[in-house]
Amino acid sequence: MNLWVCIPAVLALIGLRFLKTHILGWLAAWWICVFVILKFGMVPPMPSSIIGLYVAILTSVLLLYLTSDTERMSQAGNFLMRFFGERKFAPYLWTAAVLIPLLAGTNAYLAASKEVEAPASGRTIHPAPPGEMTFKGKKIDLIKASNPFRELETKDPTAFETHVAAGRKVYYQNCVFCHGDNMEGDGIFAYGYDPLPANFQDPTTIGMLQESYLFWRIAKGGPGLPEESTPWSSAMPAWEKFVSEDDIWNVILFLYRFTGQKPRAQEKAE
């Protein structure tokens, strides 16, 4: 959210509460403020189709507000009658009559002369994992599976450290090229792949996932993704072809260690 836009817009609406405004001015102020928030106040920007949808809802709500009260209606009606009928409003009327088609025409002109852009494809970043998977012929239940070395963290810290160190080696010989030295998804080849590699320092990636989910994503890679996650463009290799089961669990330990994040806990079976 861009607070520099949103706060003034909200303040303007609050200020409006204390002013005696003509109903049409009031409606226009609401319409403009909400539009400005939707169009310029959102980071990242919303698609124009969504903005259009919200604006349509907004317009109908404002119209409903206007028509739900006879006093408001007559206030608006009287003004419109005067605007169209009285001589002193004639210059404004004719200026508006010229400006509106001009603006609409310019808008259409700009839209039509826009350069074509490659179609963007949306994708689901964290799709639902399957219930179970096979790893080199061995069935793994992804709902129950947990990192076999995780318990060493408390039981045998020395052994745990050797697993983390092994994971570190795996990371810097296999993953670093895309996911980067600092795990921010900016390795030396990252810029050439689309979608971009995951940024593990981002708290919404591995911090929100269970270790078994990571195991599935690492073992099956891009080709193992469901359709909604565009498996045809992901450069994530199916690591089961290159590294052992133990090494995948090791590298998972290292990912959490290096980023200081914690895996999401396994849901307790009721």
Binding site: L93, V176, G180, Y191, Y193, D194, T230, P237
Partner: protein
């Protein structure tokens, strides 16, 4: 004190001279001030060590020997801190860098190498790291050898005269022996170059300043000229280029790149040609077509991974006529490999086979074999079982393209089809023109107003790339801009006319109502 720099006699002489001067200065002041190299406090070095072992040792090694776990997967190889040889410095050729130099390199990283930028390190972190890195080479603690920056002036305004003069100097100073006539890194001696550790090293492609290891500003280039890149064949020109000639040389090199950024594209725009395309014109045919540059990175996903691809970008242009579509691909390659052969098929060589086959340079253009159903596409690396890809493969030894169908990296087989091709190599750049009928009923059609998915693979024969070992791109697209498009005036006019009509209606209705009300007499109004 002495460090080797056998790149040129000039710089060796410089070191001798510098040594002599320092020895003399040291003798004079050495007794009066015990100015030991600033190695920080024990606590600072310990803090640096902790950071180093967490973020740096995986490549540079725990002992600073440049042999960390990841070291063998990067070219250029990680810096060997024990050597005391550093590329990017503000000090004279062969000298140690200053603390600020080391901090700057860590903070900025070295573009297009395994050394990332570390903008998140605080000044404190950087200082501690530098103190620790300096413990790897005893010269840093040597009080008689304090690194001193040379004078680096601010860049003056750049002029056309300066660039023209620089071009002349570029030839006179034999820059083109390594960097090539047009600066594409294709000089004659390029393929033979080695660094101080006998690793092959490539001359910089000066037409891509975003890849310059020491930064891309004119000041950065000036610094490289004055200090050289120690450990590499790039010498210092401090003594061989007169002061008045330095900025002209910088300006010429700077002018070789199109901009600060590569400006990577996401699609190729193909315009309609009313006259039939004659691909025998080669590159010249595409003079007016809009270029689109795509990044090429190592294929590190499937078997026979390539961690240091020889090519880092490919430029594409496209045009079409009533019958055919043509695509021009160009890319920089330091040395054309015009002997041997190549193939997109990964050939598993028998264990113990120590022969070194010669691989020629090659490129492949990849499109889906059929119009993809729905939004899906074939897998970007040579397709998959369900969705196949067509490969237009050009082994640049041969004058004819070879066609392949890919159903996955392990399942690439020769195919039938009619694709024509022209190719050539000049001044460090390959160009290939492919042409095919837009519709032949059997392959992916190139229809007006549609996006055809396209991806590329490049093999650098000099880099022994073949099969899976190659440079690749993601999926992009070729868009055939319709041959007849209406002017944007038309929709604009329609919109405006519609608005005027509605307005006229509204005004008419409102005016009628206003007049109708006016006719009602005040007496009647009062009744209401």
């Amino acid at each position: 004190m002495m460090r080797r720099n056998d790149s040129t006699c000039v710089s060796t002489f410089r070191i001798f001279r510098a040594t002599a001067i320092y020895a003399w200065v040291g003798a004079v002041i050495g007794f009066t001030s015990a100015n030991a190299g600033d190695m920080g406090t024990e606590a600072q070095r310990q803090a640096g060590k902790q950071l180093y072992n967490s973020k740096c040792s995986q490549c540079h090694g725990e002992t600073g020997d440049g042999k960390g776990d990841g070291a063998e997967y990067f070219r250029p190889t990680p810096r060997i801190f024990t050597s005391g040889t550093f590329k990017i410095r503000t000090t004279e050729s062969g000298e140690l860098p200053t603390d600020a130099d080391l901090r700057t390199v860590i903070k900025r990283g070295m573009p297009y190498t395994g050394m990332p930028a570390w903008p998140k390190f605080s000044d404190q972190d950087l200082m501690n790291l530098v103190y620790y890195i300096k413990t790897f080479n005893s010269d840093f603690a040597d009080s008689t050898n304090k690194p001193k920056s040379i004078e680096l002036p601010k860049a003056p305004a750049m002029t056309q005269e300066s660039i023209t003069r620089g071009k002349q100097l570029f030839a006179e100073n034999k820059c083109l022996d390594c960097h090539g006539k047009l600066g594409r890194g294709d000089g004659e001696s390029g393929p033979t170059l080695k660094d101080d550790w006998k690793n092959p090293i490539r001359p910089a492609d000066l037409t891509k300043r975003w890849t310059y290891r020491g930064g891309s500003t004119r000041e950065d280039i000036y610094r490289t000229f004055m200090t050289g890149l120690s450990g590499t064949p790039m010498p210092s020109y401090a003594s061989s280029v007169a002061e008045k000639d330095r900025w002209p040389l910088v300006d010429y090199v700077y002018s070789l790149s199109p901009g600060d950024q590569p400006g990577y594209a996401t699609m190729v725009l193909a315009e309609f040609s009313p006259t039939p395309l004659d691909i025998s014109k080669g590159k010249a045919l595409f003079a007016t077509a809009k270029p689109a540059v795509f990044p090429v990175v190592g294929q590190v996903v499937e078997d026979k991974r390539n961690f240091f691809p020889g090519v880092n970008a490919v430029e594409a242009r496209s045009m079409y006529d009533a019958e055919n579509v043509a695509v021009l691909l160009t890319w920089h390659d330091m040395s054309a490999q015009k002997t041997g052969s190549n193939t997109p098929v990964t050939v598993i060589r028998p264990v113990g086979d120590t022969t070194h086959p010669i691989y020629s340079d090659a490129i492949a253009l990849q499109i889906p074999a059929k119009n993809p159903d729905g939004v899906g596409k074939p897998y970007f690396l040579f397709g998959d079982k369900r969705n196949a890809v067509d490969l237009w493969f050009a082994d640049l030894v041969k004058g004819q393209p070879q066609l392949f169908v890919g159903k996955g990296s392990g399942n690439v087989s020769p195919a039938e089809g009619a694709v024509s091709m022209r190719s050539g190599y000049q001044d460090g750049e390959w160009w290939v023109v492919f042409s095919r009928k837009r519709q032949d009923g059997k392959h992916m059609p190139f229809d007006e107003g549609t996006f055809v998915p396209v991806a590329f693979s490049v093999w650098d024969g000099f880099n022994a790339e073949t099969g899976g070992n190659r440079g690749v791109t993601s999926w992009y697209s070729i868009y055939l801009k319709p041959s007849h498009t209406e002017s944007p005036i038309v929709p604009a006019g329609k919109q405006a006319a519609a608005c005027i009509l509605i307005e006229a209606g509204v005004i008419w209705i409102m005016r009628r109502r206003v007049h109708g009300q006016a006719k009602v007499s005040p007496a009647e109004k009062a009744k209401i």
